[in-house]
């Protein structure tokens, strides 16, 4: 049977349940969220001017700009760290025996699936005074006494790189698996060292993939909400933390919804960029 267009109404049968579920439980909630962010704004504008003004003030305030700036900066840093670490790693991984690859893939998937709560707890233990790595440094005689390495920016960054690294590898993996091995072979035959071949042949050939991966990891890192709370100080809180905080603890749903809509717009803009980068990659 070839693929054919649906003819009878009953041909649409299989679509009914998934379409209903996705519309009722994804499209409608999404629309509700957008409505809440808008409705209240008008409502506030008409009925509670003071509240409305305060809401706007907060959205455009220096505090909000700082949080947004910090979130973007943190996500960019995480994305760069992950890609720099993951490109050579994934490249070497794809050149390994299949069995070894599978072991690494299972390990990466296991770390990737870990709850942020668990990653946060594990790193806070590792960075703690009583059970942390500083104890090893003390034992080795490098440090005089153990100390806590958190809360700090470094701890947040480490935790987030830990969380995003497996994701980065898995995003890069398909492109690198398909990379033509004759490319590097040619470079090697012409006398380039493996490292030189990697930087002069592999990296340029993957330029678009790397750009797309940077953007995807950036979006992934933007979604982190627990690690900044568990490993950092309040000034290390990201937009995601702020949204949760507003929605749950401050009960300011319109403000939370407005921030979420803003975050969606940023994300969608970046997804569009990724698609564009991908198109260019195909054309090249």
């Amino acid at each position: 049977m070839r693929r054919e267009a649906p003819q009878k109404l009953s041909d649409y049968g299989p679509l009914f349940f998934p379409a209903t579920m996705l519309i009722v439980f994804f499209v409608v909630p999404f629309a509700t969220m957008i409505a809440v962010s808008f409705f209240q704004r008008q409502q506030g504008g008409f009925y509670v001017p003071a509240f409305q003004f305060a809401n706007y003030e907060r959205f455009l305030s220096l505090f909000f700009a700082n949080v947004l700036g910090f979130s973007l900066m943190l996500a960019v840093t995480v994305a760069i760290c992950c890609v720099v670490l993951a490109v050579p790693f994934t490249y070497l991984l794809t050149r390994m025996r299949r069995k070894v690859q599978i072991v690494w893939l299972v390990a990466l998937l296991s770390v990737l699936s870990l709850s942020e709560v668990i990653i946060g707890f594990a790193w806070s233990t590792l960075f703690s005074r009583t059970a942390g790595i500083t104890n090893l440094l003390v034992m080795a005689g490098i440090m005089s006494e153990a100390k806590a390495l958190l809360p700090s920016f470094g701890a947040v960054l480490t935790g987030m790189v830990y969380q995003a690294f497996p994701y980065t590898v898995l995003v890069l993996y398909p492109a690198l698996v398909r990379l033509d091995p004759t490319l590097t072979e040619a470079a090697r035959t012409l006398g380039a060292s493996p490292i030189k071949a990697f930087f002069t042949v592999v990296v340029p050939a993957l330029r678009n993939t790397i750009t797309a991966t940077l953007i995807m990891v950036f979006i992934f890192a933007l979604g982190s909400y627990l690690l900044p709370q568990l490993l950092g100080r309040p000034q290390h809180w990201t937009l995601s933390v702020l949204i949760t905080d507003q929605a749950i603890y401050q009960s300011n749903m319109p403000f939370a919804a407005a921030m979420a809509v803003f975050l969606v717009l940023v994300t969608l803009g970046l997804v569009a960029l990724t698609v564009l980068a991908g198109r260019k990659g195909e054309a090249a």
């Binding site: 049977m1 998934p18 599978i102 699936s113 594990a122 898995l170 698996v177 919804a257």
Partner: protein
């Protein structure tokens, strides 16, 4: 020379990935309720605590129930959709494929907030079943992507042969398609199951005040200080994920699954 260099690199990455888990594993076997590494004494009692302490046992039970049901619902949504998209030419129906992938691509806090406003508006906020539906929608991407991949791997001439012999759509689906797609159903279910087990923000925003899943329980416990049970639960989670993904790798083609999965995401 370069071989040695790449070995060192892999060792360092492996160490980075394993280090927190090694410390947590060490902490989890402390004899007393102290946060110490290397561990002082040896005891497996903190693992028993997960099952003996009613609070942790209830959280474990809640998480397992949620993961089993929501992964099943996610597959139930993804399977007919993937089947329809493969079987029919209906370009407009691709919008549902996009809707299925969107919740997972956006920052999770957005899906969580959308569902929170929705459940609050409809008056179901806090009901345990809302978490099942929320997780199913949030993770529907995973079975959808694995199943779409599975369908493209099916040889259409098999289905055509069955149709020529007079089998209708239902019979074809049951006797030809289902056996071929089963490994992809299993891996899609496994991915959704493990991620649902670990998910925090959506569960917290939808049922956080009425039900404690394990990640919520760990987070709540962290606020009141440290107990070694957190460490033992963490190791239990890591082990569960590793076992499930090993099984997926054992019975399926993991490199192929991942190769196609990530390229579908981009």
């Amino acid at each position: 020379m370069t071989g040695a260099l790449s070995k060192v690199y892999f060792f360092l990455i492996g160490l980075f990935l394993a280090a927190p888990m090694i410390v947590v594993a060490g902490v989890s076997v402390n004899a007393k309720q102290t946060l110490a590494f290397p561990p002082k004494g040896f005891s497996l009692s903190w693992y028993g605590e997960i099952f003996l302490n009613p609070e942790w046992r209830n959280a474990l039970f809640a998480s397992l129930t949620l993961a089993i049901l929501s992964a099943a619902l996610a597959v139930a949504i993804a399977l007919p959709l993937a089947w329809f998209l493969w079987r029919r030419i209906a370009p407009w129906a691709n919008i549902f494929q996009l809707l299925g992938i969107a919740p997972f691509t956006l920052p999770p806090v957005i899906t969580a907030l959308g569902l929170l406003t929705f459940w609050a508006t409809t008056g179901f906020y806090g009901q345990p079943w809302t978490a099942v539906v929320s997780h199913a929608i949030f993770f529907v991407t995973l079975p959808l992507v694995t199943l779409s991949l599975g369908f493209t791997a099916i040889d259409r001439s098999l289905v055509e042969a069955a149709a020529t012999m007079g089998a209708d759509d239902k019979t074809i689906f049951r006797t030809v398609v289902l056996p071929l797609i089963l490994p992809y159903i299993v891996s899609g279910y496994a991915f959704a199951f493990v991620l649902s087990l670990n998910e925090y923000i959506v569960a917290y925003m939808t049922v956080g005040f009425t039900m404690e899943t394990l990640p919520i329980k760990i987070f709540n416990a962290l606020r009141y200080g440290y107990t070694p049970t957190m460490a033992s639960v963490t190791i239990l989670f890591v082990a569960t994920a590793a076992i499930i993904f090993s099984l997926v790798a054992r019975f399926g083609d993991l490199p192929k699954l991942l190769g196609a999965m990530s390229s579908d995401d981009t």
